[in-house]
Symmetry: C4
Subunit: 273 residues, 4 copies
């Protein structure tokens, strides 16, 4: 044992503040940290603006240095007082904490790396811990589970949409590219347009001008109108099953066939369990 | 008792007209009031137009004064003849009624306060009372309950969307900001663009021009296409449960576990009851 | 009896062709009629174009006269050979048939009345009869029933959306109207913008330029993203109930309370049956 | 038997590589083929760009010739070693494989035919076979089944939407065409606008400028907001039924009436089984 008693007690007090958000000190620490993260993001946003007066630019630069030093100290403290340093450093939260301090150091070597600072925003999820909203985190997990269970269906659906937009985009290029003032300059642009239209985003930077092109566009829009319903149906069906079937572990969610807990796929319909 | 008999009877007749919408006089009063509210809103809308001839501007000004006096008298009358003045003044409807008359007075001190007049639109909900459409109000309450029950899930979802648009917006800024004629001038604008795209609104005031930017945009659109399904799934599942589970009070809505009426959360899965 | 035997037989043969779409002649008549309706609509579409050569304009004018005479003869024939003239003339189909021939006559007196021709498009529904697709008409009726059952909820929802866009539009006008180059010229325009944004249409003809305006827009977009889920939830819940509950007549669709067939509302929850 | 033993063994080895994707050689062949298809599509996309330097244009032209020869050899090899040549040539995959090699040959006679190359993208579905993701293909089939079962309802719905946009487009043309700077030049354009708005795409190339036009637009947007929910409801109800009703073959999916396996339609409600 290389650390003396005093060190251990400091470590334990630190651990109480940093990791134990039930104590009043830990709570205050968490609130201060969230505010610091928010501020450092605001600095990054303001700094990205091209027309800043020089004095503001240098002030923001100095503030960023301060925050970087602060977050670095915090990371070292976390590493120092963690019960199991290795498992903290390799845990999801540990990696996020590390990634959140690296960008300013990396930006010395790689220009633009400072924008990786944005990954600090992931630490906002901590907000639920501050307000004791563990129910929310629980809900988030259930959400992810429901989406995860419909992942297969959504993947197939997306490949279908991809093939569709490639075909529709090319068709549109053939129809529109000949027209004067056409904005369908090449197939890549046309596929981009097809995705914009099918997803009902519709920027309007590229729009059909010929009658045939508008006919096809109308068809694509009505198709998108229907297709937009499909992921909704998949996810909703998954949510409803998640809500109604508490004994999910013993029955296949799709075909209701009895399954064993050790099964990975339903023996009747191949559904992933 | 400070009020004599004659006053009491006047008070009671007034109360019958103002608060009791079952009597013919009360009904006529409610209809007149709704028309007056609609007219005062139309005046506000027309007044906001910058290119009005002076005579119309002054006429509208005078009409607004008349309406303000009218609504003030109505509020005083309501306060005067309410069975319990204090509880009326502090009730939801009482506060809305007060807020609806204050703006013109406040605009003397605070410029722009006159636009708070718009809060009068909330009083439109009274329209259901005029037409005896209490079933509608009942439906509205059930709607709110269903949405309220899924509030936790939607809150988690929105925090996730927020972190996502911050990251995607910054990524887009890195990709697009170097291009000539780029409209991605700073990170804030890029995040605004990411929200516009993910929500499938797609104004088209900011659009990607580089190939890499269009690739990322296409990905964001298809992502938004899927994400748009999630709140739908949450709300729909909630509606279906609201419709199908009349014994909700004795069973957990999520895991069907038996719960006591005094329970606030399900003892098995932590669902808020 | 004023009509002789020969007339009656002509009448009956006509009736077989016009009303009985099971006979080969009736089938051919229905197909010809649908093509004629489509052609007359195409003529109307082409005629509306401002830059037509004079010879095409006059040709289309003549064709329209021919179609008008043809549809008028068809209506007279229908009226002549209907089993019960009065009930045909006053039935839904009878009124549509009449309305479809009136516009060209009305356009002599009322300019622009010729565009009412568009109501002929309603006669397209006849297409299902041609192809014996009665199942489709049956589906359509079930769709309307499901939507009809959720009408109350949707009406409440729309009043809520209306009050919301009035408030948000005014707020946006206060924020944006002062900015140079602002397209938020008056409250009416701002409310129009709020509807465009909340419904995720997003034309982009009116867009915020101030930072505060973009913040509020982002909030409105994310709100619209969630609100768009509500009608979906209402309609889906209605569809699922329509599909799952064949004994709907004996149970309240909302609270499952036993109801009598003669009941108009559920005695427990007030749901319209 | 016209083929000698040596030929048969070559044929069998080829068949193992081309058709049997379980063998290591077959797997490598499938991966190489997918990469070749992707590359040939990328060449097509780049070639469509109008501003290419001549050397790149000719290089891409040569590469396309190489790929065309390669895919032709592959098709001949498939045909040669197929167990049943006729049934392969006429199967879905066989036709896709043929269509994928024809365009370059056709483009000699028909200009523009080279863009049919895009149909090669359909062969991407093969990607699931490479990664042994048969579960995905299974999901895709279930998706198609669920959509197929709601085809009737969606067809009726689309005819309704078509009649609606024709009527709304014409109404909008009447309102807007008189205004200066109106982009509603003819009825066809107005119907195109109505589809753009109702589907919430909202390009913004055509926008209303009059007050009446904006009123009608707002109404159409809110209508589209509700209508967009209908296909969602149809598809979701279908998914949920697909998930919850394993004994679908013995019960009508709509009215739960007992049906025989040989029945094509439910005897009680006419639902197609």
């Amino acid at each position: 044992m290389t650390e003396n008693h005093q060190h251990t007690s400091l470590k334990e007090r630190l651990r109480k503040i940093i990791f134990n958000d039930d104590s009043p000190a830990g709570r205050r620490f968490d609130i201060a940290l969230t505010i610091a993260i928010a501020l450092s993001l605001v600095i990054l946003f303001v700094e990205s603006s091209p027309s800043l007066p020089p004095w503001l630019k240098s002030t923001l630069g100095w503030m960023e240095v301060v925050f970087t030093i602060g977050f670095t100290i915090e990371y070292i403290a976390r590493l120092y007082c963690a019960e199991d340093r290795r498992s903290y450093a390799l845990s999801g939260w540990g990696i996020i904490d590390l990634v959140a301090i690296l960008p300013p150091y990396l930006s010395v070597f790689i220009p633009g790396a400072q924008y990786m600072l944005i990954l600090r925003s992931i630490r906002f999820i901590r907000i639920f811990r501050i307000f004791r909203l563990f129910v929310f985190l629980n809900e988030g997990e259930l959400l992810l589970q429901a989406i995860g269970r419909s992942f297969h269906k959504i993947a197939v659906y997306f490949l279908f949409v991809l093939v569709l937009v490639i075909c529709l985009g090319t068709l549109m290029f053939i129809i529109e590219s000949g027209a004067p003032d056409s904005s369908f300059s090449d197939i890549g642009t046309s596929i981009y347009w097809a995705i914009t239209t099918l997803s009902t985003v519709g920027y309007g930077d590229i729009t059909p001008v010929t009658t045939a092109g508008r006919f096809l566009s109308s068809f694509i829009m009505l198709l998108g109108y229907t297709l937009i319903a499909v992921p909704g149906g998949i996810v909703t069906a998954s949510f409803i099953n998640a809500t109604n079937e508490p004994v999910r572990n013993n029955r296949c969610p799709r075909c209701n066939n009895k399954v064993r807990k050790s099964d990975k796929f339903c023996s009747q319909c191949g559904e992933k369990l």
